[in-house]
Amino acid sequence: MLDTLLRILALTRKELLAVLKDRRARVSLFIPPIIQGLIFGYAATYDLNHVPYAVLDQDRTSASREFLAGLDGSGVFERVGNLHSAQDIRTYIDQRRALLVVQIEQNFERKLQLGQTADVQIIADGRNSNTAGTASSYITAVVSNFNEHWRKDHGLPAAVLTSTDRAWYNPNLDTRWNMIPGLIGQLAMFQTLLLTAMSVAREREQGTFDQLLVTPFRPFEIMAGKAMPSMLVGIVQATGVFLVAQLWFRIPFAGSIITLYSGLLVFLLAAIGIGLLLSAVASTMQQAMLYALLLIMPFSLLSGLTTPLNNMPRALQYLTAINPLRYAIDIARRVYLEGAGLHLLSHDLLPLALIAAVTLSAASWMFGHRMT
């Protein structure tokens, strides 16, 4: 037992030396996740804070000015032009000078005073329909605010039915709150998987793997010795991104750090298992790298980070069951925002543990049985 442990530790030490001896390799392992965490943390948000818009005010009354003041004062909308005819709308939208054009009809004020419904036309650039939709929803909020004030100021009855909205876990519906926790798994997976996939393939290409097999090491010990360094690298990378989220972006953390790290540990084991299996299958470094890249891309795209999982067709959703990143992102978000404990995360942890168990045992079996 002790021998096994000592052998694993010796192999781990050797592996770590091989990975970290080169200064460039050290830098390329630890700096990119932190920089990416910072940059993508800022970039990856669906919230808008600068929406350029143009106005075609065909009413030009105090009511229409009051309406526009509501937009200008929202802190989100920036007026980039006052249009004089409907022909100008096309220029502003086509040339991307404005994301939306607000068109206020004639008789806007009169209709309001008569208690009728006054129309405001919003023309949005649908080239990115998600952004346009978000901007329109901001306008809706400005409009209902205006309506409320207008009615109050003019002694009109308020709308019969209104709603009080509250959001659980993310009161201001800030998309950064669920993007940045997701980045922890996303950024840690890339290099962990690649590094693991290369580790055995490198030895095989250089012929040192056969030497390793004739030493007293058992396949299981080789597997563990190869998995340990990647695990350390993965944990350090995840911690880097976690610190960026905590110290720089100050994302509120509702759960416990122990739960988060337990989840990350199981996730990294699964990712490493997949990496080792690739490594066992591949015979050259190039193949290993290629297999890893071929997997990493669908893993990242189908993880639920940028587009929700339940928007995917059923068949594809089943396919994502083997994607460890999907579970890691769910764990990170739920621990962060919902403060979920381990018992609530079992539907994430169990599949991850299963992936880890299957891939790791398959990899160690292949180490013992596949000679090239």
């Binding site: 800022y42 978000t134 909205d165 509250r166 659980w168």
Partner: protein, 379 residues
């Protein structure tokens, strides 16, 4: 006649020889085929079918504590809406349990005194949103507001409520009337595929030649540096064009994304971008000369930014200034703008020309750069 022409142009002959050699290498190397053809196909299918930001059939729990006809009218509004998939409960705890398990995205609670308040002229429903996905939650919030608004309008129309002046919004989404998210996701996919073939594949292949020392042996032949670079570029450029053809055909016929601009404009923009991506791939591989580092760098420098910083998913204008400055040096940003415009808006020259000029400048700079890096190692 043709041979004569070639004989008298040794440069052309050498370049052609290199291209032939390189093409054979690509065809015989399964990894190039994997990245150049298999990966684009996988991405096309995943993107076209897998990714969607559309919010439809939202599961909501309706807590109906009031069973009066007034309340049921509101309930019916939710049940008939194509946006909602309403599940009715009669008390709050089961609804909250569904929310905790995240089987519903929102709870709409109609309190027991609802009808009474409606008669008094002011009623409220409570809306609870699951903030686990904030983008989705905000869209759902908009749908709920819409349902409430519709109820108010109906009440007023039936003469049960006093009409009162209010502003109503008529929204129109130009270029994408149906509000289909794959209209902008599929052009984004083309950017990713072109980046992959142009930068990642080239970086890996060139780095492998450096690693194996086969590039140095080329240097002792009469072939010039720029001829080597050209010989390397042309086959991968052609591979990129195959990827592009796959993407355009599937965008048009599989996913029915309209192409409102012209094909020449689309091809022109794509050719420029592939050249930029190739330039980056050459530059990376010639500077690091190691497959692993080159492929990581290519991923970090091209693929991830093409996804996160190009404006294809996330709005560039809302990023902080420092991050926005970074996006200006990324070619993907210009290509995304070009593609979204050419596909959905048409040939808007005011957008196309400036963006193409930037890509051309980048090609020139990268060409000079990779030549300098390659020549330096000759000495």
């Amino acid at each position: 006649m043709r041979t004569d022409a070639l004989q008298s142009h040794p440069r052309l002959r050498r370049v052609i020889a290199l291209v032939v050699k390189e093409t054979r290498q690509v065809l015989r190397d399964p990894s190039s085929i994997a990245i150049g053809v298999v990966m684009p196909l996988i991405l096309i299918l995943l993107f076209g079918y897998g990714l969607s930001l559309d919010v439809k059939n939202v599961p909501v729990a309706l807590v109906v504590e009031d069973t009066s006809s007034t309340a049921m009218e509101l309930v019916a509004g939710f049940q008939l809406s194509p946006y909602f998939n309403a599940q009715i409960t009669h008390s709050q705890p089961p609804a909250e349990r569904m929310m905790l398990e995240h089987t519903v995205d929102a709870i709409v609670r109609i309190p027991s005194d609802f009808a009474r308040h409606v008669n008094e002229g002011s009623a409220q429903v409570q809306v609870l949103l699951h903030g686990g996905d904030a983008n989705r939650a905000r869209i759902i919030q908009g749908y709920v507001q819409g349902a409430i608004q519709a109820w108010n309008v109906r009440q007023a129309a039936q003469g049960r409520a006093m009409p009162s002046g209010s502003v109503s919004i008529q929204s129109r989404l130009w270029f994408n009337d149906a509000n289909e998210s794959h209209y902008f996701l599929v052009p984004g996919l083309i950017v990713l595929v072109m980046t992959l073939i142009g930068a990642l594949l080239t970086a890996m292949v060139m780095a492998r030649e450096w690693e194996r020392g086969t590039l140095e042996s080329l240097f002792v032949t009469p072939v010039r540096t720029e001829e080597i670079l050209l010989g390397k570029t042309i086959p991968y450029f052609l591979l990129g064009m195959i990827g592009l053809a796959l993407c355009i055909v599937s965008a048009k016929f599989l996913f029915h994304v309209p192409l409102r601009g012209t094909l020449p404009a689309l091809l022109g923009a794509s050719i420029l971008y592939v050249l930029v991506a190739l330039g980056i791939g050459l530059l990376i591989s010639s500077s690091v000369k190691n497959q692993l580092v080159a492929s990581q760098l290519a991923m970090l420098a091209t693929f991830m930014p093409a996804m996160m910083l190009s404006g294809f998913l996330f709005d560039l204008r809302s990023m902080p200034t420092a991050i926005r400055l970074i996006t200006y040096v990324l070619p993907a940003r210009y290509y995304v703008t070009l593609l979204q415009t050419i596909f959905l808006a048409g040939n808007v020259w005011g957008v196309i020309i400036p963006n193409m000029l930037v890509l051309m400048t980048m090609i020139a700079l990268l060409g000079i750069g990779s030549r300098a890096v390659t020549r330096k190692r000759l000495d």
